[in-house]
Point group: none
Chain length 223, copies 4
Amino acid sequence: MQTYFRTQSIGSNKRARTRGMLIDSAIEVFSTKGIEDASINEITAMAGMANGTFYNHFKDKDDVAYASTEAIALEIAKQLNDRMNDLDQGVSRVVVASWSFICIALAARPWGRVLVSQYQRRPVAESSAFEYMRGDIQRAVTQRNLDVTVDWFLLEQIAALMMTALRGMLGGELRTELLARTCENILRLLGMTPLQAKRELARVSRHALLDPNASGVAISSEI
Amino acid sequence: MQTYFRTQSIGSNKRARTRGMLIDSAIEVFSTKGIEDASINEITAMAGMANGTFYNHFKDKDDVAYASTEAIALEIAKQLNDRMNDLDQGVSRVVVASWSFICIALAARPWGRVLVSQYQRRPVAESSAFEYMRGDIQRAVTQRNLDVTVDWFLLEQIAALMMTALRGMLGGELRTELLARTCENILRLLGMTPLQAKRELARVSRHALLDPNASGVAISSEI
Amino acid sequence: MQTYFRTQSIGSNKRARTRGMLIDSAIEVFSTKGIEDASINEITAMAGMANGTFYNHFKDKDDVAYASTEAIALEIAKQLNDRMNDLDQGVSRVVVASWSFICIALAARPWGRVLVSQYQRRPVAESSAFEYMRGDIQRAVTQRNLDVTVDWFLLEQIAALMMTALRGMLGGELRTELLARTCENILRLLGMTPLQAKRELARVSRHALLDPNASGVAISSEI
Amino acid sequence: MQTYFRTQSIGSNKRARTRGMLIDSAIEVFSTKGIEDASINEITAMAGMANGTFYNHFKDKDDVAYASTEAIALEIAKQLNDRMNDLDQGVSRVVVASWSFICIALAARPWGRVLVSQYQRRPVAESSAFEYMRGDIQRAVTQRNLDVTVDWFLLEQIAALMMTALRGMLGGELRTELLARTCENILRLLGMTPLQAKRELARVSRHALLDPNASGVAISSEI
DNA sequence: GATGAATGAGTATTCATTCAT
DNA sequence: AATGAATGAATACTCATTCAT
């Protein structure tokens, strides 16, 4: 089981640590059986806790599902943001973010599976993690590299492309070609012609920011 | 409750009629509570039957969910196909089909809701109804109006755009603008530039095939 | 366990028989642990059924508690009414009914305990069984032997005396003296002087209708 | 929340103060949800304390329920006793006490509700508060104004009338007529004729001791 | 004494599924 | 084929109680 959020809260107080362990366990269970089919008992058992403990930290399954996906999405978004520190071009940021987001979610399979599972339950555009995407697109608009109005509908359509691609790839191995197509599709939705999209992708990849092997997150795991 | 499939099977043998009634009831219940939260008891109760009867016709909820969505999707696709009889251009067929599909699913709310609910559970591209879409795209390719390779990934991305749009619109009223954007996005995925996509949409709409009011299916209902 | 209502429904259809068995079991459990502390599992276990069966017949514990007490109270009231067939005087009927009701509830301990337990949860005056009491008092008023207005408050106060007496006596053995005091107290509430009340009681007892040993109901039981 | 017993223990040591606060909170919760449905967590939360604190002061819910009702009943009885200082006639004391007890319990609704709720769980005659009643009746017997034997059964029957009346009145507004009927009924149980009872009540009320508005206890409250 | 996180037994309730009629 | 009573495993959630800090 991956123990990212438990590890993250080492040094925190006991309450936060327990909560972190529960989220780790929830992610593990959710990724195995899907959120819908997971039971609270499985989560606490995986965490080695009494079932009652769950309710000291979460209201119900929806609550922990939301907390888990937010934790994952924010963690990914935060790491992406760090790595894109010196990337000024909004369009490039969109490409790198989309590409890397999927890469990371694929590298950390459980994370990817949970994101997909949760996506099937709720629209995703209002997730706080998606604010990064909105910001990058907005930046590109300001820089006059894109000409779109950024509204919820656009974001939902982009999210749909990303999550569908993620879902499709989770079954098999990482396929760079599909990743590229997804990013190009996003750029097309944003108003670029297919040709422009392909060029932008090529341009960005020259910066080596899209190396699939470099984009994984260090995730502690055991068994 | 809408009684489309029950009505449809009038004249058939009793077995088919019972099955049709169960599918009608399932659609009604699914659309109200979502497939996940619906129970077999609710379906049979809605159909005015004993719960045991269900198992004479379906294996389990997945079975009836699949049957219901296939029935809906095929029904819509069939009607579309009829109306596009004299439409030769593959690209136009794609636009009209996408547009009308969503229109119909919005007009017959329960149908739309069930389709969305089922889409959240399974990828949709392999649905037999989607074969029509594959055919139309292929036709456009053959006619040298599009230049794409038609694979499952492309179809899934298109489906994602359509279902996301449908889901977003089901909450509110029909908004022609969102419909148009969705269709343009699909054309963009198929390799058109934004400008070409917009023009194609304008061209097709001149044929009055996209009149939202004209695209409804006759659906018998009671109460 | 006493099996009165199960026995009663022999010959009825299966559904009624099962329901009768559940009521019998509920009475048994309620009388042992009190309604508040009884669990649905205990009831179905006592009936030798699956817990799910309970919910085919009752909504929840309140439902079965109400059904049980109504069944008991009506059964007692019905038997009383039969035995008082040739008793014309309303006052006498009140005395005999009060006396016998308590006697029967004491003889069939579980019944008495359940009645007391339920009385602690809800006012009792609106119970359909109490309509008999209202009728007898009304009759006495019509016969000009009592001069009171019969309202819910009066009935509640009378019920309080009866149930309190029943509760007090359930712990120990039957004590004729307490029974007599209770009945006299009821007559006093109804407007009689203590002397009149005592005389009325003496008068009625001459008719041998108050023989404690004669007032039991035949109750089938096993183990 | 009323804070009578917390206030009362100001100046005492910390332990007594904490205990007082818990009792105040318990009364508040009990009166809202009934004793049966109240949880220890709710009580400590209402008191702004950790749940563990409860067990430093009480064994369990029964314990705090008993303590709460005894505190309430004794407080009322004590105040009554003070006000009846110069009332020599036992019969009058019984009337004033009964009347005022109900009045106070109605004015301080939470107190009344808790008393009723606890009464439904245990016989009340052995409550130390009821010793006052026993004393007053005994006094009347000694003064040769009543001729009864004062035993637990009599006290229980009187308590039943009082608590039933209280329960009935708690739902609606104060109704002097019902109060009077209750007191008359008590006197009847004590051996008076209806006429004597009515006269006694009239006599006592001339002393203005039964003014409903004058009989309230000063209860500190906040929020 | 106070805290509050953790516990885990207990309970109601749902629901897919079976099967005798 | 249809019925519908019975089943019993599964699961969410509560809450009194403990105990280390």
